[in-house]
Symmetry: C2
């Protein structure tokens, strides 16, 4: 038995799913059944409506069929013969696809997906497994046992045939499939873990943010704890930036459309909100990005090579009209607050500026404990010189610089040839979170386009006017998305320095409220975020309530603690207690609550 | 000679201006000539177009006429007789006004102004001075010498007759007039001083903000120094608020229109930007205020009397479509960032919350050195109980509380009966700046309306559901306007703790740049904002450049200073120098740069 690529296993798994459905329910009309991330699906119209309860039975039937170890046999047919074959089987959807292929020369299933139904232009291939046959280009495993048993049917969904509401609605059966049982188990465990860490669920439970029907999808409102996290993360980045000579600017959230005509966004960028039309004036637009405003501000002052680089940061919120179906909690929003930096530099300054940005990225990832990341270096395609604008010398030097500086830091990276934008090369940072899911975070992008469009200049040492290069850069990406990722990464259990509520003080009885409040005031005066639970509940219940909110430290104040002896700290997620003398408690807490250097 | 009220002097001054114009230019058609703030104007159509160069001559003629000391003689005429009189004088505008009075029973000059042309419904009064006669209700001085000599003609402007573009354009001659020469001089000096302090001029000179044609009027962009001022002011307020238990929330800048239907703003508030119409979704609006979002966030959680008050602050920017003609620098903008606080409290909690807010106001004014302010207390009109909503008991108690708490603080105040909003009483703070100009700043407003419209509740001690009261509050008003006022108050010469650039280090020669940079780094590490001027210019020129930018401290680094001896500080606006030993320079600067406690 040969070792099969997992793609082939998944592909064959989809056929076996269709075969199992046919054996179980008889006249099942088959739509399409492609391989997707981690598995496959099949769209079907069965004589009965399938429910989640049917999935184990279907899965069992699949295992039976796999155990028969039938061969996957490929057959090449003319389109006419293929049509006859699927007509005889009553598979109208397959016949429709074949007719389309013949008449329109296309295999497009719907606007987004193109299905490879095999063969040459006027041929089609089919695959037989036992008595089951499907229109398919392949490849597949040779015999069904090679699929292996490391699979599971996971869910059902509705799906219109070819994605159009005008067509019949089919049922989509999803399966996941891996090469080994270990991989399957790890995936299921990660799914389970991801569910627990879902930031939309935790956002509600931990009073972080709120999505209101009356305000609109993708526009989260932040409760004090969530707003505190926003500000902390933004301030932390800003302080690190200021220490490196970056300066904040402030720009309004709307602008005349004219600005986006100059930048070219109005013509090309499709996530802009529609205009606000003022009768007596221009049309105004919500800004979907800051770049044009940065350009205007640079252009409004004279610049000499002596003043460059200009390193400007802006964190006023951008608005992008993402489709409502694509929105998700904080990770895909319509209101996104980027930690947006633009550096205006001489070409000679590019290397030092990239180096400084990489320093910042490394610094910030270290603070948040992001150890597992890699870098994608997007460079130009030397075979298509006509596809890029800007000075060739700047292109080749800056690409070399990017690779060299990343390599010097020992950061894992990949080169994406031909992935550069038409106006400059780029770096993307992909971070893996605590349960191994990849998230794209930071981006560094060279830009030789906007300085042209806005006719930016600086006076060079020889007195001539030259064009600066712009480096766009975001480290967090957006505050909203970063917070969503942070919540999932930490599963809502933030480290002491970052937690919106750092310390919960629980009183044993009313007699100790005064003492608890005094301690709380001392801690607050030292800059810590403390809540006192002086409710009439039992202390055990108070401790559990604090744990529910994932408060890092809980301190009980009762008879013993009012005497000035040791304080006992229940640390979230740890066994046992941390014991700190009352006399040094504030100092010690301040010390332990410092963000990583 | 009796002591005349200044209104009468100004009123008579307008007549004398018209008389002077008539004597100088012959057939002058007279429009209207009312008293305005600090003086008067007259709208006229003269046989020649007046220019600024004519003003001294006209002023001279006025003084001549005043010296004649003619009596101001009132005469009451029937409208018919008055029409005849002004027809005989060729004063068509006066005749038109008289005919209107007769036909429409109105004396309205245009949509905004109503001119009192005297007499009863069917009578008109005229005033004679020498051979000059004007339609006028009075009152006037008795003899022209009583007007005094403390006046000046200040400017010319165009003005359509009755404010309509369809009517002839007249020329408006402005004059200022005071009871004494001292008052006139003080006013002229203040005008001169105000011109120097104009924040629009200083905003450009000091690199604070920029208005870009491509972005739009009323939408300032802030350079790093201006953005730094914004953040400093906002952070300072936020820290003081946090120390008093206020918590920041965050809300998006746009919302579905539905939210403003609930709040009633969509129907009533006229400064909203037009909607962004999304085909597949609702209309979205830029938020002109935060209140409805605050209400939504409160409503999304259960509240018990135990958790009240809830004190929430929000500083995301609001957008109001102010008419472009009314916009001015930072003091009248379309993008305004309010330091907006909403307190949700039980009726019993109102007193303590108002007290806390007054504490905050007093605190903030003290920090910025605002000593000269008064409070306007707007209360309901007891004669019109039907004009107000909400619990009568809450009205009377809270109004009494407002007066009592203001009085207890010894703050100058006035009571405005009938000036309350229909939903609650209010406090406004009017601050006088360094040159005596009044600015409305803080507002505190009780609200018994929005809690109803949003059906807000809390669970009372007896388990019943009750309606909270909301207190709206802004201390700065908006960051933009406050900065505009601050710039004018300080004439751009910010105190050391507030200045965007605190210290300029000027090198005597290239040999001292290393030493200057080392000192700058030490100061920066201590949190100070320092620039090094290492340009090849002479040190005298560098010192003057720093003074042009109104940098509080300038330190010269040369041969003497590199040896570790004393450092000499040139303090902006002061004679002489401040001498600080090099060894304690950083510590001493940090100490002196602290904001007032």
């Amino acid at each position: 038995m040969s070792e099969q690529p997992v793609f082939n296993r998944r592909h064959s798994g989809a056929h076996i799913l269709a075969a199992a459905l046919t054996e179980l329910y008889g006249d099942v009309k088959l739509g399409v059944g492609p391989v997707v991330e981690n598995g496959f699906y099949y769209d079907v119209l069965a004589p009965k409506t399938l429910t989640e309860e049917d999935l184990p039975k279907i899965e069992q039937k699949m295992r039976e069929i796999i155990d028969r170890d039938d061969a996957f046999r490929r057959e090449e047919l003319s389109i006419e013969d293929a049509v006859k074959l699927f007509e005889s089987k009553g598979q109208a959807f397959k016949v429709e696809l074949l007719r389309d292929l013949k008449e329109k020369g296309t295999t497009k299933v719907n606007a987004e997906e193109s299905l490879d139904i095999g063969g040459g232009a006027m041929n089609a291939s089919v695959y037989h497994t036992g008595s089951f046959v499907d229109l398919c280009r392949g490849p597949h495993v040779d015999h069904s046992k090679e699929i292996g048993g490391a699979f599971a049917l996971t869910k059902l969904a509705g799906a219109y045939w070819r994605g159009s509401e005008r067509n019949p609605q089919l049922q989509r059966v999803y399966g996941i499939l891996f090469s080994t049982k270990e991989e399957l188990d790890a995936h299921l465990k990660m799914q389970e873990e991801a569910k627990k860490r879902d930031h939309r669920k935790l956002g509600k439970e931990l009073d972080l943010f709120h999505l209101a029907e009356e305000v609109g999808p993708g526009l989260p409102l932040f409760y004090p704890k969530g707003a505190w996290l926003r500000r902390t993360v933004e301030d932390l980045i800003m302080r690190r930036q200021e220490a490196r000579g970056y300066q904040a600017i402030w720009i309004p959230h709307i602008t005349k459309g004219h600005l986006y005509e100059i930048s070219g966004h109005l013509q090309k960028y499709d996530a802009m909100y529609p205009p606000m039309s003022l009768k007596d004036e221009a049309d105004y637009y919500l800004k979907p990005m800051n770049c044009p405003h940065f350009m205007m501000l640079y252009k409004s002052q004279p610049h000499s090579y002596r003043d460059l680089p200009v390193r400007w940061v802006c964190t006023t919120t951008n608005y992008r009209y993402e489709k409502s179906g694509e929105l998700s909690g904080l990770t895909r929003v319509r209101s996104l607050t980027q930690d947006d930096c633009h550096v205006f530099t001489t070409p000679e300054g590019i290397r030092a500026e990239i180096d400084l940005v990489l320093d910042m990225v490394g610094d910030v990832y270290r603070i948040f404990g992001f150890k597992d990341f890699k870098v994608r270096v997007s460079v130009h395609d030397p075979a298509k010189p006509e596809a890029y604008i800007g000075d060739k010398e700047i292109w080749s030097q800056s690409e070399a610089t990017l690779k060299e500086l990343i390599t010097a830091r020992g950061w894992e990276h990949e080169i994406g040839v031909g992935e550069a934008a038409f106006y400059g090369p780029k770096l993307d940072f992909i971070f893996k979170d605590a349960i191994g899911r990849p998230w794209q975070l930071s981006t560094i992008q060279l830009d030789m386009n906007l300085p042209n469009r806005f006719d930016l200049e600086y006076v060079a040492a020889d007195g001539s006017k030259k064009r600066p290069v712009v480096i766009h850069r975001a480290i967090l990406g957006s505050t909203e998305r970063f917070l969503g990722i942070l919540i999932e990464h930490f599963a809502g259990a933030f480290p002491l320095w970052l937690a919106p509520e750092q310390i919960r003080i629980a009183t044993v009885a009313d007699a100790f409220v005064l003492h608890a409040n005094k301690l709380a005031d001392e801690l607050r005066a030292a800059g810590l975020r403390v809540w006192v639970d002086a409710s009439p509940e039992k202390v055990g219940k108070k401790i559990r309530a604090a744990a529910m909110m994932k408060v890092p430290w809980t301190v009980v104040i009762g008879e013993k603690e009012t005497g000035g002896g040791d304080l006992h700290v229940k640390v979230f997620g740890e066994e046992g207690e941390k014991v700190i003398p009352a006399g040094t408690f504030v100092d010690e807490t301040v010390r332990l609550a410092q963000p990583p250097k």
